[in-house]
């Protein structure tokens, strides 16, 4: 995707479709799960690690490299802890007394 530039209008379309889709999907999440939803989306928002990696590929100078490296570390922290905490929380939800997670 980095070889050619996509017209802005197409990216806009993708943005709008994602926004509609996201609004519809989140509305349907059970109230029971709002806390793990927050930690999950928190992890997903760290997709910015992708941006950091792109910038880091060919940095023009040291400062850019340092900024991007810090960003990768920060985002990686979020990714790891975000998905792991979500998993930890979700494992707790059980339907029956003493039953195992489905």
């Amino acid at each position: 995707m980095h070889e050619s530039t996509t017209p802005l209008s197409i990216n806009l379309l993708i943005f709008l479709l994602s926004a509609f889709l996201g609004l519809g999907l989140i509305r349907r999440v059970s109230k029971l799960l709002h806390t793990p939803l927050m930690s999950l989306t928190n992890a997903i928002s760290s997709v910015s690690v992708v941006a950091a990696l792109i910038v880091m590929a060919e940095p023009k100078n040291k400062m850019i490299m340092i900024f991007a490296t810090i960003a990768v570390a920060l985002a990686a922290t979020n990714v790891i802890s975000g998905f792991m905490i979500t998993e930890r929380i979700l494992r707790m939800f059980k339907k029956d007394h003493g039953g195992k997670t489905p």
Binding site: K31, L32, S39, L40, S48, V50, T86, L90, M92, F93
Partner: protein, 457 residues
């Protein structure tokens, strides 16, 4: 026209993120949803590393190892009661990352930055830096390292307005003259300052809503980077995340009967400090033994947990008492208010942690329908969410907020430490009702004492 393998990996990753949220909608599929999200992230990262062969693989690896080394202990050790704080903290991390990438990209592109790119970058940096300081303050407030009270001083609106003007001014400066060396530092400082003041000015009770909005900002910044870097996975994932924070904030506002705008622009006005009609009357304190006798005779009991449950970590004790009562033939359920505690779904998570099966967790509306036939409600450290002033007193700041109508049950036992008001700072007439008994003390200790009573007899 067929594009590269990497671009298809990106599509796969975006689809996995969509499935992740889709599966998150119910408990049954939620773990699959989390794994789909993780897989989407892994694929996005791997695809990026393939497509943009980095000159600094060593640094990337070091950064990832460091991130993992910090992330794992956080994830494993975090007590469930601290989830709201950790969310705030990780928003701080995430938004700083986004802001730094935006800044780096700015320097990378210098000296030629077209107007569109510069506009998006400026917006992205403002959002990123203000979310960073804002989330940090939110973290400190939730962790009670600083006071939860809104910082109010004279001329607050003017100062905030000025800082916003400076931030926007330097953004416009950058758009006109991207190479000018002063605009960026000014923009960064102004954004940082604005985020700081914004959240300092918001009362603790609005903090969860603020966190959701900041979550939304973090997602939107990632999407903005997607536009700048022409990367669709960033656009899709960032936008999904932006939508999520937005919806959660709206749902919270609804549950609190507050207007979205009043929170969103909260920085410019203090949270209506609790007033409402003065409440007076007699309170009826209770001993643990007396509470035992009431519960002993009850055939249907509803527990209504609130923030106090989290503070005293009473979830295990509550479940134990619930089980004891169930064994004695009582019908036991838990009434969950959507904004009980300090983040949406907070109570569900705590009770799930204590092994309460989730089909015993009943939403406000349904539990209210059963209130009239409920023998005893045990309010465990909840306050605002059971405040009948929300229905009875039009002058109360809580008026109109949906509550759990414990006062309609036959007997209410309230577990708390004192007569202090809850988060909203509003007096609670419930405590003075004829059918209410106050059982003072730390919630966990009280519940354990009750369980012990049952064990003895």
């Amino acid at each position: 026209m067929m594009g590269s393998l990497v671009s298809y990996l990106y599509v796969l990753s975006a689809v996995l993120f969509v499935f992740s949220l889709k599966w998150m909608s119910e408990v049954k599929t939620s773990r699959r949803g989390n794994w789909a999200g993780g897989a989407g992230m892994l694929i996005a990262v791997v695809a990026t590393m393939i497509a943009y062969k980095t000159q600094h693989l060593d640094l990337v690896i070091i950064a990832m190892v460091v991130g993992t080394a910090i992330g794992i202990p956080i994830a494993l050790k975090l007590p469930m009661t601290a989830v709201p704080q950790r969310t705030a903290m990780s928003h701080a991390f995430g938004s700083l990352a986004v802001a730094l990438v935006g800044t780096a990209e700015y320097y990378q592109r210098l000296p030629e930055i077209d107007t569109f790119t510069m506009t998006v970058l400026a917006a992205e940096m403002i959002l990123g830096y203000l979310t960073f300081t804002g989330s940090t303050i939110a973290f400190l407030k939730l962790q009670e390292m600083i006071s939860g009270k809104p910082l109010i001083y004279k001329g607050r609106n003017i100062v905030s307005g000025l800082i916003v003007a400076i931030a926007l001014g330097s953004a416009i400066g950058l758009i006109i003259a991207p190479t000018h060396p002063y605009f960026l530092p000014i923009l960064v400082v102004a954004a940082l300052l604005f985020g700081f003041l914004l959240v300092m000015g918001i009362g603790g009770a609005d903090m969860p809503t603020v966190i959701a909005i900041l979550n939304s900002y973090a997602g939107l910044s990632a999407a903005a980077l997607g536009f700048v870097l022409d990367n669709q996975v960033l656009i899709v994932a960032g936008t999904l995340d932006g939508a999520s924070g937005f919806i959660l904030a709206i749902l919270m506002c609804k549950a609190m009967n507050r207007s979205f705008a009043s929170v969103l622009f909260g920085g410019f006005g203090a949270t209506a400090a609790g007033q409402g009609a003065a409440v007076s009357g007699e309170i009826r304190p209770l001993s643990v033994e007396d509470a035992y006798i009431i519960l002993e005779g009850a055939s249907s009991v509803v527990f209504v947990p609130g923030y106090g449950l989290a503070v005293s970590q009473a979830q295990q004790a509550a479940r134990e008492l619930g089980e004891v009562l169930e064994k004695r033939g009582a019908e036991v359920s838990y009434g969950i208010h959507p904004v009980a505690g300090r983040m949406p779904g907070h109570m569900n998570v705590l009770l799930a942690e204590a092994n309460v099966p989730y089909d015993q967790l009943i939403e406000a509306e349904q539990i209210n329908a059963k209130m009239a036939t409920t023998d005893v409600c045990v309010v465990i450290g909840a306050n605002d969410v059971v405040n009948p002033a929300a229905q009875e007193d039009a002058s109360s700041p809580l008026y109109g907020m949906p509550i759990i109508e414990v006062h309609k049950s036959r007997t209410v036992i309230v577990l708390k430490r004192s007569m202090r008001p809850g988060f909203a700072g509003v007096e609670n007439p419930l405590f003075f009702k004829n059918n209410t008994r106050m059982l003072f003390g730390d919630a966990k200790a009280t519940l354990q004492a009750l369980v012990a009573e049952f064990a003895e007899k």
